[in-house]
């Protein structure tokens, strides 16, 4: 996967500089709504249900202030990612108990002929594993700055 292929899953319409939500479920709703408003998603309520169910198996909070809710849905026709920040942080049942500030929502269809879902998930986890990348992501103001921070993280 090249940096540009990686960035093709993101988009300015799926970039949230500061989440309005203050609870875990509120975050899931807000992320899902943004994804659905961007098209290629049939029914946001089905999507939210799927994301909540995945979350019920164990938090997708990874620690270090990062959470990556994810899943596949019949309601999705393309793999897409929403990026969001919350500077105040949101309690997300992460393993380290710390509130989450950086969020990626990944939704993929079941017809994943290119087998892109798990590699994408892995790549996202890898890019935020460095403290310096997380700091940069928390400071971005625009989608362009976000894309540049991701390119840098990708190169490292």
């Amino acid at each position: 996967m090249t940096a540009e292929q990686f960035l093709s899953y993101f988009g300015p319409q799926r970039f949230i500089k500061e989440l309005r939500a203050r609870s875990k479920d509120g975050v899931l709703s807000e992320l899902t709504r943004v994804l659905a408003n961007d098209g290629d998603i049939r029914d946001p309520s089905l999507l939210l249900e799927m994301i909540r169910r995945r979350e019920s198996l164990g938090s997708t909070g990874l620690g270090n202030g990062v959470a990556v809710p994810h899943g596949r849905s019949t309601a999705a026709t393309r793999t897409k990612v929403v990026f969001a920040c919350s500077k105040r942080g949101i309690e997300f049942d992460a393993p380290d108990g710390a509130p989450c500030r950086i969020f990626f929502l990944i939704v993929a269809p079941y017809e994943d002929h290119r087998h892109e879902y798990l590699p994408l998930l892995g790549k996202i986890v890898e890019t935020v594993s460095e403290e310096s990348s997380r700091q940069k992501l928390l400071g971005v103001e625009t989608f362009e700055e976000f894309a540049e921070a991701m390119r840098e993280a990708f190169r490292e």
Partner: protein
């Protein structure tokens, strides 16, 4: 979209999630990335609840198709069935009534799901 198709989509997403996360290879990969995958009993309970809301004949159709294909319900995108990738005839009915047959692809037989 009719409630009948919507319920089947819910069931399918849930069953495919259970299948995928119970696949040892997939589960191992998610866990290696730092995600926890447990509490499967909750998903089974949700599945039981959902099954009660689906008419018997719809469930029979769904099961029959699921024996042949991974997905019994597929989206329609730009007039194409995303199960077999054939263009659907324009006369095909969108959605379905409260009773009667579910909308299905003439080519592959999968249940169709529109926006």
């Amino acid at each position: 979209m009719s409630d009948r198709v919507q319920r089947l989509v819910q069931l399918q997403d849930l069953e495919l999630m259970i299948d995928e996360l119970q696949d040892p290879d997939h589960k191992r990969k998610e866990e290696a990335l730092g995600f926890s995958v447990e509490n499967f009993a909750q998903l089974e309970k949700a599945r039981e609840r959902l099954l009660k809301q689906i008419p018997k004949q719809d469930l029979r159709s769904y099961r029959r198709i699921r024996r042949r294909h991974v997905r019994a319900v597929v989206p329609v995108h730009n007039g194409i069935c995303l199960g077999c990738f054939q263009t659907l005839p324009t006369r095909i009915q969108r959605g379905s009534s409260a009773s009667g047959p579910l909308p299905a692809c003439e080519n592959c037989g999968r249940i169709l799901y529109w926006f």
